[in-house]
Amino acid sequence: MHLHDFWFLLIAVLWTGYFFLEGFDFGIGVLTRTLARDRTERRVLINTIGPVWDGNEVWLITAAGATFAAFPDWYATLFSGFYLPLLAVLVCLIVRGVAFEYRHKRPEERWQRNWENAIFWCSLLPAFLWGAVFANVLRGVPVGPDKNYTGDVLDLMSPYALLGGLFTLVLFTFHGAVFAALKTTGDIRHRARAHAARHGLAAAVLAVAFLAWTQAAYGNGRSLPATVVAVLALLAALALNRSGREGWAFALSGVTVAAAFATVFLALFPDVLPSSSDPAWSLTVTNAASSPYTLGIMTWVAGFATPLIIGYQAWTYWVFRKRIGTQHIPAAH
């Protein structure tokens, strides 16, 4: 295995890890409006991710930073080409992060309501946009001979991309509902399971549609098993949710997210950003990669840091493993 192949794998893992983790964060954000009935319940949901959302978001910073270091051309074309969608993602992540920290800092009704609206919309929009972005990455976009993006924002709004966005939005909401069932107690826990069942069904329909399209149009022998795993895991998660095995249901909804993104990355390889203008101009793991020297150093750093990160992040989830109910929410704010 070449170093650049290894780094493609690692970046795929980082993005997938990001979507596994922030996927349920986004889902929780969406559910604050659809599942929670009042402010206390909204706070229950927000507090299930309170101690961890920030650490989850660092997976994004790392995925982007690693793409910059390992595949500078991929980073440069992707970020300058997908300019407006990424601008929207940034704005949402800024407002959403501040909303979590500031919402409870003032007692006024308007203040709290505004930040709650922000949490909903700024979770919903990125959950959609990330799916659309990666569907476009797989589908290919207009890239010229000098590796620059030559299209405009309309080129990013194909039906396939919109379906990809819708798929991740619903899948993340399902993932979030399963997480909510696992992390809450009382009435909200039961309703979370009911929500998970509904969102899971919708996600299953979209998964079949999106993944079948993906496999038919862009897939290969490598991506096929991942597609199958994604669909089976989603069905298993639904069944487990129904029978009240919340921990296993969450594990399987996580596998669904991971397998869905694995499908995309496996279908993409060895390209990193195909050119729809001329396949010869596509960015690939070879023509977009950094030098072997840089990749070698980064391999050492990642090899040292990644197990450590996974270790202490897992520990954080263990420390905050207790379920939260309305009775745990202090009245003060």
Partner: protein, 527 residues
């Protein structure tokens, strides 16, 4: 295309606005993390309530601040690719590495352990909980180190070759990038400045509370119950803030002097511009005030201290310091074009340099005076020594107290000084980044060649407008919130956890009865 709205101009404005804004939060985050950690350590070790209240209070302000620092940092990472794609392609092999290291080795620590710290008060044993904030503090320092190594490479590229086939920079020696003298000195200068910022911030807010209570006492009134209870925590904070600001201020000055010498050697144009030194002179004077004319290449008004610039550059009062016109001619000969192309904005560099030093050192001097006048025992007659929990008089000598007028203004300056280092930091970055122009990477890539060629004017304009508007709104929200919580002072009714939480039983109780009783206990902290 209209030059004022050219994508390059807009992208530069956006970078300037978002970076200066981001860096309002960064230094406070770095220093307040460490100060909070120090106060919490004092509490864990002594069990004194004033340390607990001080920890909670500064921790709260720290969290309001770090939220903004984290989210505005996202923009910094994304905009290299969005607005500066040709830059990213050219430098990615070198510049991306420290950035990825920053994420892997620093951001993960910060963001994970900040969550543990915020929500862990009733879940983690005291000592482990205290270790969490220390890990956050170390994470902030590590993160500044990696990002400054990346920036230093733009100021002074080392450890690379330019690949002949691709025309891109390629890393050949990561160690050189991480340990070159530019990096080391810049890290020292930035970190000391960060601690000066945090020290002054703490001094300012503590002074506000103490002066409010003191003013009442001077009028013969008793401060209210709540105010009185807050005094011990604020007295401690004042001392901590003053000591931090004095040590850090001294460090900023020393490292700044050293950085100046490094820059005279590596980027002579930047330093000549900082001094508006048009002609090479030996010995070179230090300019206190100048009004220049870029077109004519000389200053029309000038006040100078003879020989001082030679000293700043070379540690002696006689050696020559090259002037702007000579350096510009030299660079034009080496890289092509006209000499004027190589002259940065003299107005911004000259005044940025002075405002940086002026505001930074004002805070340092104010803290030095504060540290002396509020001393508790040293060279004080016994009757002037403040008792435990008493707001000290401002003592000039052994028996001489400041008059009422001076006392009032001393406290007021103590409050005002918290803003000064923020201004100094901003101008420091404006100076060092604008002073490097026209280069994005000194000697290798010009800023004009670094922008994204595929991004339209409309797109850059949209993003600049969106970020400016969003940042403005968030600034208002953030400052109002900070003021509210800073004015409210520590919540002295809050009690430290009665028993040290045990890790194996996150619900708090070890016995079966205790666990059942605590199972429905509200969280100590909730969003």
């Amino acid at each position: 295309m209209n030059l004022a709205l050219a994508p390059e101009t807009l992208a530069r404005w956006q970078f300037g606005i978002t970076t200066v804004y981001h860096f309002l939060f960064v230094p406070l985050t770095i220093s307040l993390a460490a100060i909070t950690a120090g106060l919490q350590t004092a509490w864990v070790r002594t069990d004194k309530e004033k340390y607990f209240h001080a920890t909670k209070f500064w921790g709260k302000l720290f969290l309001i601040n770090i939220a903004m620092g984290v989210v505005t940092g996202l923009v910094q990472e994304f905009q290299f690719g969005m607005n500066w794609s040709d830059y990213s392609r050219f430098v990615g092999d070198v510049f991306g590495a420290p950035l990825a290291m920053e994420a892997l080795l620093a951001f993960f620590f910060e963001s994970t352990f900040i969550g543990l710290w915020i929500f862990g008060w009733d879940k983690l044993p005291k000592k482990i909980h205290c270790a969490c904030i220390w890990i956050v503090a170390v994470g902030t320092v590590l993160s500044s180190y990696f990002i400054l190594a990346a920036n230093s490479w733009m100021q002074h590229p080392v450890g690379y070759t330019v690949d002949k086939a691709t025309g891109k920079a390629q890393l050949t020696d990561i160690w050189a990038v991480l340990t070159q003298n530019t990096t080391m000195v810049v890290v020292l200068h930035t970190l000391t400045a960060a601690f000066l910022t945090g020290g002054a911030f703490v001094v300012g807010i503590a002074s506000f509370h103490l002066w409010r209570a003191k003013r009442k006492q001077l009028k013969g009134e008793e401060p209210g119950e709540k105010q009185r209870k807050q005094i011990p925590a604020m007295l401690t904070s004042l001392r901590v803030g003053l000591v931090v600001a004095v040590i850090a201020g001294l460090g900023t000055a020393v490292s700044g002097d050293e950085l100046g010498k490094v820059m005279f050697e590596q980027q002579p144009m930047k330093m000549a511009a900082a001094e508006a030194l048009w002609e090479t002179q030996s010995p070179a004077p230090f300019s206190v005030f100048a009004v220049g004319d870029v077109g004519k290449g000389h200053n029309s008004v000038e006040i100078e201290i003879p020989g001082l610039l030679s000293f700043l550059a070379h540690n002696n009062f006689s050696d020559a310091v090259p002037g702007i016109n000579d350096i510009a001619a030299r660079e034009a000969a080496a890289y092509g074009g006209e000499p004027e192309d190589y002259i940065p904005s003299i107005f911004m560099t000259f005044w940025g340099f002075r405002l940086m030093i002026g505001f930074g050192m004002t805070s340092f001097v104010a803290a030095l005076i504060g540290l002396w006048t509020t001393r508790r025992k040293l060279w004080l007659a016994p009757e002037y020594r403040a008792a435990e929990g008493e707001i000290p008089r401002l003592m000039l000598t052994r028996t001489r107290e400041m008059g009422p007028f001076l006392t009032m203004w001393s406290w007021r300056i103590g409050i005002l000084t918290m803003g000064f280092p923020l201004i100094a930091n901003s101008f420091g970055w404006i100076f060092t980044e604008m002073g490097r122009q026209p280069w994005a990477v000194y000697g290798l890539m010009k800023t004009g060649d670094a922008v994204s060629p595929g991004v339209s004017q409309g797109e850059v304009l949209t993003s600049m407008a969106v970020f400016t508007a969003l940042y403005a709104v968030l600034a208002v929200v953030e400052v109002k919130l900070l003021v509210k919580y800073a004015k409210a002072g520590p919540d002295t009714d809050e009690k430290p956890p009665a028993k040290d939480p045990r890790l194996r039983f996150p619900s708090g109780g070890a016995g079966a009865g205790g666990a059942a009783e605590d199972a429905d206990k509200p969280m100590t902290f909730a969003y």
